[in-house]
C-alpha cells in the first residue's frame, strides 16, 4: 500500500489531534503509567523493523534489520509488562478507595 503525500499529511494531522484530545484530562497520578503506556504503543515500530529485516538483501542490511527487530521487540514487550505492573497497583488503590468509603 502506498500512502500518497497529502493523504499522509491528513493522517498526521488527525492523529496528532487525536493524541492530544485523548489524554487532555489525565490526573497527575496517572502521568507515569500513561507515559509508560504510550512508550508501549510506539513499540509498533516492531512491524516496521520486521519489514526492514524481511526486505534485507545483503548481510549488513540483515544485521541492522536484526538489531532493529531486537530493539523494537524489547520496546513492545518490556513496555507492556512494566505498564501492566504499574496499573495493577492502581487497581488495588481503586478498590481500596471504594472499600474505605
Amino acid at each position: 500500500m502506498i500512502i500518497e503525500g497529502f493523504v499522509a499529511l491528513y493522517i498526521f494531522m488527525l492523529a496528532a489531534f487525536t493524541g492530544y484530545e485523548v489524554i487532555s484530562r489525565v490526573p497527575v497520578i496517572l502521568h507515569t503509567p500513561l507515559m509508560s503506556g504510550s512508550n508501549f504503543v510506539h513499540g509498533i515500530v516492531v512491524v516496521g523493523a520486521m519489514v526492514a529485516l524481511g526486505e534485507a538483501q545483503t548481510v549488513p542490511q540483515q544485521i541492522v534489520g536484526f538489531v532493529a527487530v531486537i530493539l523494537a521487540a524489547g520496546n513492545a514487550v518490556g513496555g507492556y509488562v512494566v505498564t501492566e505492573r504499574m496499573l495493577e497497583m492502581f487497581k488495588s488503590k481503586d478498590d481500596q478507595k471504594k472499600g474505605a468509603r
Partner: protein
C-alpha cells in the same frame, strides 16, 4: 493477503487509540493497556504475512529476534523492583528510538545503492528487491526520473526528508534515553561532559542538520554515516546535563520524540499503523511532557537548557550551623505526643522498602488520636505518581494522601513533619537562594513545621547534588539509618508508650 494485513493494521490503530483513552482515567486504565496489547499482537502476527518480507532466512531471523528480545524484556520487566520502574521506561523507550533509527538506516543505505546507476541497472536492482518483473521495474524507475544522482532522487524527496528526520529524532531519542537510564540507575553521575556545553550542543546539532541536508543532495554513504553518528552524539550531549527532579520530564520528551520517529519511518515504509500510533504518541507525549513540567512549575525550556547543577555549585557557600542528630526513640516520643504529624516520603523510603513499616507506625499514631497526613510532592520519587503507587501498595488509604497545593498551608499548624528519604523536594534553598540550581522549584514547606524529623541513610546530598539547609535548621533533628530499620524502631517506641 495484503488486504488482511492492512485491515489488521487498521484494527491495531483503533485499539491503540482506545487503549490510550482508557489509560487516561484511573477506572479504565487496566482495560486500556490490555486493548493496546491486543492491538500490538494483531499487528505483529499480521506482519508475518506482509508481502515485502522475503526469504526463509529472514523469517528465521525475525522469529529469533522477537523471541530473544521479547523473552529478555519480559523477564527484566517482571523482575525489576517498583522503585526502578522509571529507568526501565527510559530503557525501553531508547530501544524504540533505536529501532526507528535502524529502520531508517536500512532504508536509506539501501536507497544509496541505487544512486549513480543508469536506468537499466536500477530497474534490475529494483526488480530483484521488490520481486516484480523487469518491465514493471523499468517503468517505475523512469517514472521516478531515470538516472539518480542523490538520495533525494533515489527514493523521492518526501520519503528521503521524512526518513532523514526520523533517523535524526530516533538516534537522539536512542542515545538520550540510554543516558537517562544510566543516570537514574546510578551508573552515570556527571552533569556535564565538556566546558561550554550549551555552545557545543548547538554546534553538534547544527552539524547534524547540515550533514542531513548534505546527504539528501549526495549519494555518499560516508556523509550519511556521519549524520547518524552526529545524531547519537547530540542525544548524549542533550541528556547529560539534565539531572535531579527534571529527569522524568526529559524521559517523557524522549518518549514523544520516539513516537515521531516511528511515525516518520512509518511513512518511509508506507505503514499506516506506524504513522498513526507514532503520531498519536508524539502528540500525547508532548502534551504529557508539558503537563509534567507544569506540575513542577518549571518551564520546559528551563528543564532543557538551564544546565541543571552546573556553575551554581561553585558559588554556593556551605550552610551554617550543625546537623542535630537524635535517636529513633526520641523521634518516636516526639511523634506520639504530637497533635498533627505530616509524613513526607521520598525516593529513599522506596529504596529502603520502608512504606509498610511507616504505615504500621501511622496506624499506631492514629490509635493515640494523632492526626497523620501524607504529603506528596509532584515529583517525589523519580516520577510523578511514584509515591502514590508505593503507598497504595502498603495499604495507605487514598484520603490520607495530599498533594503539595492541598497541604502546604498546613505545615505551620503541624507539630512534627517527618521527612523520610526525601531531600530536594523539601530544600528551602528553592525558595530563598537564587544561586541554587533548584531555585524556583516549588517545595513542601516542611521548614514551617514546629519540629522536623529527617530520616536519612547518610549525610550525603540529594539526587541533584545540592546541600540542604533544612538539615542545619534549629527545629530539625536528624535520624540516620536505614529507613526500614528506623521505622521499625519508631514502631517499637510508640508501642511501649
Amino acid at each position: 493477503m495484503n488486504t488482511i494485513v492492512q485491515l489488521s493494521y487498521f484494527l491495531a490503530a483503533v485499539l491503540f487509540i482506545l487503549g490510550l483513552k482508557g489509560m487516561s482515567s484511573p477506572r479504565t486504565a487496566r482495560k486500556g493497556i490490555v486493548w493496546a496489547g491486543a492491538g500490538m499482537v494483531v499487528a505483529t502476527i499480521a506482519t508475518f504475512f506482509h508481502p515485502e518480507i522475503h526469504g526463509f532466512g529472514n523469517y528465521v531471523l525475525i522469529v529469533i529476534a522477537i523471541a530473544v528480545a521479547g523473552g529478555l524484556a519480559w523477564y527484566s520487566g517482571k523482575k525489576v523492583p517498583m522503585t526502578d520502574m522509571p529507568q526501565m521506561v527510559a530503557l525501553y523507550n531508547g530501544m524504540g528510538g533505536g529501532a526507528a533509527a535502524a529502520i531508517a538506516a536500512v532504508e536509506l543505505f539501501r536507497a544509496l545503492g541505487r544512486v549513480g546507476l543508469d536506468t537499466q541497472a536500477q530497474a534490475q536492482q529494483l526488480a530483484d528487491q521488490a520481486g516484480i518483473t523487469l518491465k514493471a521495474a523499468e517503468a517505475a524507475v523512469s517514472a521516478e526520473g531515470g538516472v539518480t544522482t542523490s538520495l533525494g532522487s533515489a527514493i523521492g524527496g518526501d520519503v528521503a526528508i521524512l526518513g532523514l528526520l526520523g533517523a535524526l529524532i530516533g538516534t537522539v531519542a536512542f542515545s538520550g534515553s540510554l543516558v537517562a537510564w544510566a543516570k537514574l540507575d546510578g551508573r552515570l553521575k556527571r552533569n556535564s561532559l565538556v566546558p561550554g556545553q550549551q555552545v557545543v550542543n548547538i554546534v553538534v546539532f547544527a552539524a547534524a542538520v547540515i550533514f542531513g541536508i548534505w546527504s539528501f543532495y549526495t549519494g555518499s554513504a560516508l556523509v550519511l554515516l556521519i549524520f547518524f553518528l552526529l545524531g547519537l552524539l547530540f542525544g548524549v550531549l542533550m541528556a547529560v546535563p539534565i539531572g535531579g527532579a527534571d529527569m522524568p520530564v526529559v524521559i517523557s520528551l524522549f518518549n514523544a520524540l520516539t513516537g515521531l520517529a516511528v511515525a516518520f519511518e512509518g511513512y518511509v515504509l508506507g505503514n499506516p499503523a506506524m504513522i498513526i500510533a507514532g503520531t498519536v504518541v508524539g502528540s500525547a507525549g508532548s502534551l504529557l511532557t508539558q503537563l509534567m513540567a507544569k506540575a513542577m512549575n518549571r518551564p520546559l525550556s528551563n528543564v532543557l537548557f538551564s544546565g541543571f547543577g552546573t556553575g551554581a555549585s561553585t558559588s554556593e557557600e556551605g550552610p551554617e550551623g550543625e546537623m542535630k542528630e537524635v535517636q529513633a526513640e526520641d523521634a518516636g516520643i516526639m511523634m506520639a505526643y504530637a497533635n498533627q504529624v505530616i509524613i513526607v516520603p521520598g525516593y529513599g523510603m522506596a529504596v529502603a522498602q520502608a512504606q509498610h513499616k511507616i504505615w504500621e507506625l501511622v496506624e499506631l499514631l492514629q490509635d493515640r488520636d494523632v492526626t497523620v497526613k501524607f504529603a506528596i510532592h509532584p515529583v517525589a520519587g523519580r516520577m510523578p505518581g511514584h509515591m502514590n503507587v508505593l503507598l497504595a501498595e502498603a495499604g495507605v488509604p487514598y484520603d490520607m494522601i495530599y498533594d503539595m497545593e492541598e497541604i502546604n498551608a498546613e505545615f505551620e499548624r503541624t507539630d512534627v513533619a517527618v521527612v523520610i528519604g526525601a531531600n530536594d523536594v523539601v530544600n528551602p534553598a528553592a525558595k530563598t537562594d537564587e544561586s541554587s540550581p533548584i531555585y524556583g522549584m516549588p517545595i513542601l514547606n516542611v521548614d514551617e513545621a514546629e519540629n522536623v524529623i529527617v530520616i536519612k541513610r547518610g549525610r550525603g546530598t540529594g539526587f541533584s547534588g545540592v546541600e540542604n539547609k533544612l538539615f542545619y535548621a534549629d527545629n530539625c533533628s536528624m535520624v540516620f539509618g536505614d529507613g526500614q530499620k528506623v521505622a521499625g524502631a519508631l514502631v517499637q517506641t510508640v508501642k511501649t508508650l
